[in-house]
Amino acid sequence: MTATEPAPTTSRALDEIKIGGMGASRRRVEDNRFIRGRGHYVDDVVLPGMLHMEILRSPVAHARIVSIDTTRAWNMPGVRLVLTGEMMATRNLAWMPTLSYDTQAVLATDKVRFQGQEVACVIADDPYIAKDACEAIEVEYEQLPVIVNPTQAMAPDAPIIRDDKEGQADNVIFDWEVGDKEGTDRAFAEADHVSTIRMHYPRSHPSPLECCGSVADFDRATGKLTIYMTTQAPHIVRAAVALIAELPEHMIRIVSPDLGGGFGNKVPVYPGYVMTILASILLERPVKWIEDRSGNLISTGFGRDVYLEGELALRRDGKILAVRMHTDSDHGAFFGDAQPSKFKIGLLHSTFSCYDIPTAHLTARGVYTNKAPGGVAYRCSFRVTEAMFFQERMMQAAADELGIDQAEFRRMNFVRDDDFPHRTPFGFLTDSGQYAKCLQVGLDAIDYEGFRREQAEAAKQGRLLGIGISCMTEPLGAGNSREYDILGIKMFDSAELRVHMTGKAILRTGAKTQGQGHETTWAQIVAHELGLPADDVVVEEGDTDTAPFGMGTYASRSTPVAGAAVAMVARKIRAKARKLAAHLLEVSEEDVEWELGRFYVRSAPDRGVTIQECAMAAYSNMPDGLEPGLEANAYYDPPNLTWPFGCYIVTVEVDPMTGVWDVLRVVAVDDCGVRINPMIVEGQIMGGLTEAYAMSSMQFITFDADGNCIGSNFMDYLLPTAWETPGYELHEVVTPCPHHPIGAKGIGECATVGGPAAFVNAVMDALKQYGVRNVDMPLLPDRVHEAITQRHDVSGAPPIRTDA
């Protein structure tokens, strides 16, 4: 395990690892309930008199609603309410704002705009009756032409999908640019070589195992609305509900209990949540909605779906002179991206941040199509996954074209260790890193030279081996509040710590764990700062009535922002405890020194008091003029993003006869700064690598030309099981973040962000001899086989082969 702190100054100081402080692979406290089946998820919430809601979804992707007949449904025994868009409209609730200042239909009124869109809902005594009643609703649709990709969306004669929006004369949502166009053009004119590549990062669904759901409970007598829901950001939802439902914020309580995974999927506000709220207000009874998996797969937060045309201007010796990129992204029928409003395509322009690039220019266009609203940051920091995938694919293609070794090409273009802080060509400021060392650790671990020899030997026997490298740095931990916001709400985070009389404590934060282990990790930060054993600190999150206002957990914000707030609030407690210690020791505050868990008199180190004794004094023996109690809160607005770095190296063998490829080894080297709980960090990396493997090999959602979603269940939408998933070899480099209170950087997403390119680059390395430069993900055997036999690039852009 990792050693962290220097040796204690006196024999009385606590052993940080023993009390569960920084660097301890402390076993997770939340597991005590999960392994007993005592987790409390939204579907476990049962309230007296609770009713059940089911949603009727559109079977077609684009159609005018001619009529909806709900008579049969209303007449079924056990049915309490049938809602349609028209009824929502009478309460001004047919439309709701999205997280990107767009609007989204709660229930369709005029038209349906994607397959699976919510058309009506039924509230009944039990979910079986509600489902029966949904099937009894008769809807007549008049089908309209369907748009399933940006090319179709931007065609001059394309139908306008969002004719509900005033002034929307085409299907373009935004047309954005960033960087230095003139400088980039100049660099390209002077380049020895220009490397160009086109790619598609396919649409994918985060698919946490728990679907979405909510239980809304409006109490007419008190005017209070309580909603138990699957959300990664309870306070943002509270603000949104206050605005949509026009209810006062202090009368709304959002409770996000245990979540069965999130991965970005549980950030947006979905129509189902809103409908349970209205139904509960109308019926004055609790209303529960638990989404089924097909509803989840076809209608909730997709990620990716970005097309790229990328170019690198290169000097003959391998130096990159400039980067030029254009992306078209498909956002579906409603622009619902969760991202800072200042950036039209999230942090896509964080691309190439780990390379020393003199100048760059990026243009990005987003369009509406007849698909479900996409754009959740699926296990990434606002479109960073796409940024790093394109970056590393462009790097490999360019290295191959120049005939320079792929590792050497990266090494020569890295930002050097002594170049920090480094300003990227798109304006980000990165603060620390040891990129070359990180890469070298990976190369040594996988025996890069040895593999190259093995690869050459294998080639003589007709076997195809390949090795792929992916290096990436990811901006994690939005804010600062100057630049980052959601719906105008500035991004920062919070923690509140109450130390009780006996030295036991409760910590609450504005973050929300979905399996990341906050209950374990946050207590370790308190242990590190105060010397209270981690077991003496209980952590609570996710209840807006008790937690301090915070932005929630997504984009790996937890440790960079909420974790920092935890450290800061603990320091506030320590500052007050110092006053109490001075009082107890009868010396002036300046004479009091701190070591882990204990204050002592500088001139007489044997005279000391523990932090627990200070806590007792805060309630029983405080000095005159000092406010009683030992509690504080902290709102932490980070000075900057944190920039963890990762290097992933994958080896594969491709079967040239079938296009099937097997992963031989996966080596991951992560530099996420100081590791609070190494066991949890490694768990996050392994989970992230699996999502990367999934993206590269099997996991994608596509649509036919009629907008039918291919993959509305786990038989068609493939997720890797224990059987396919490769094993991982993990390594670390530690470069503490200079501005984070405990030097941490965030890690949850790095492997998902950087991993996919490593798998794809490995397969492309194996296929180099066929003149193939790109096969779009996922690298399904038939696509790889086509690349081998037809010797051309294979596009995965939908719609796929409607003529077959």
């Binding site: 076993r27 997770r28 939340e30 597991d31 005590n32 309930r33 999960f34 392994i35 007993r36 089946g37 005592r38 987790g39 998820y41 579907d43 476990d44 049962v46 007296p48 008199g49 609770m50 059940h52 025994p77 056990g78 005594d125 039990d126 979910p127 079986y128 009756i129 698919s207 946490p208 195992l209 728990e210 245990d258 979540l259 069965g260 995974g261 991965f263 089924d292 998996r293 097909s294 399996g515 949890i680 490694e682 768990g683 996050q684 392994m686 989970g687 992230g688 690598l689 699996t690 999502e691 269940n713 786990f714 038989m715 997720l719 099981t721 224990a722 059987w723 998933t725 094993g727 991982y728």
Partner: protein, 181 residues
């Protein structure tokens, strides 16, 4: 009939057939009046308030609802409650008593075999069935036995380690190795 989805008794809807069944759940006989179409997962969760059995896909793919029926792993979201009549069902709540842990539960905690915890009960029950049949499995055998259970958080590596850890404990092979720390 008492609706399984409401605490307040509701009259059975007209024409709704009801069947009385008796199931032995975690060693205790339980009786319920159920609609023939009611799923076993719902009987366990709403009827018997055993919410450790989770439903993640409703289509027998994800395995979160796995329980043991007469010792064999079954995905309870696609078994009808009436089919369990007269049979023995084990859920995660029946893995160990309230104050002790089954070696699988200890293994999952010790080897960090879970993150969000949603797939965990199903994983442990699938693993229990494996170890009953094959007390000393190889890594490949564990991976194959768990391939009907999806996990989105862990990447499986630690789940496999957890099961192997439990197998070792149950075989009493690690008495001399001390704690895992």
């Amino acid at each position: 009939m008492t609706s399984l989805f409401e605490e307040v008794p509701a009259a059975a809807a007209e024409g709704v057939p009801v069947r009385r069944i008796t199931v032995r759940v975690n060693g205790t006989p339980r009786t319920a009046d159920v609609e023939p179409r009611l799923l076993l997962a719902h009987l366990l969760r709403q009827g018997f308030k055993l919410t450790g059995t989770h439903t993640g896909c409703d289509t027998t793919n994800c395995g979160a609802c796995t329980v043991l029926v007469d010792g064999l792993p079954v995905k309870s979201c696609t078994m009808l409650a009436v089919q369990a009549d007269g049979h023995e069902v084990t859920t995660v709540e029946g893995l160990a008593g309230p104050s002790e842990l089954h070696p699988l539960q200890e293994g999952f905690k010790d080897e960090h075999g879970l993150q969000c915890g949603f797939c965990t009960p199903g994983m442990m029950l699938a693993a229990k069935a494996l170890l009953a049949e094959n007390p000393d499995p190889t890594e490949d055998e564990v991976r194959f036995a768990l391939s009907g259970n999806l996990c989105r958080c862990t990447g499986y590596q630690n789940i496999v380690k957890s099961v192997l850890w439990a197998a070792k404990q149950m075989n009493g092979a690690s008495a001399d190795e001390g704690s895992a720390e």
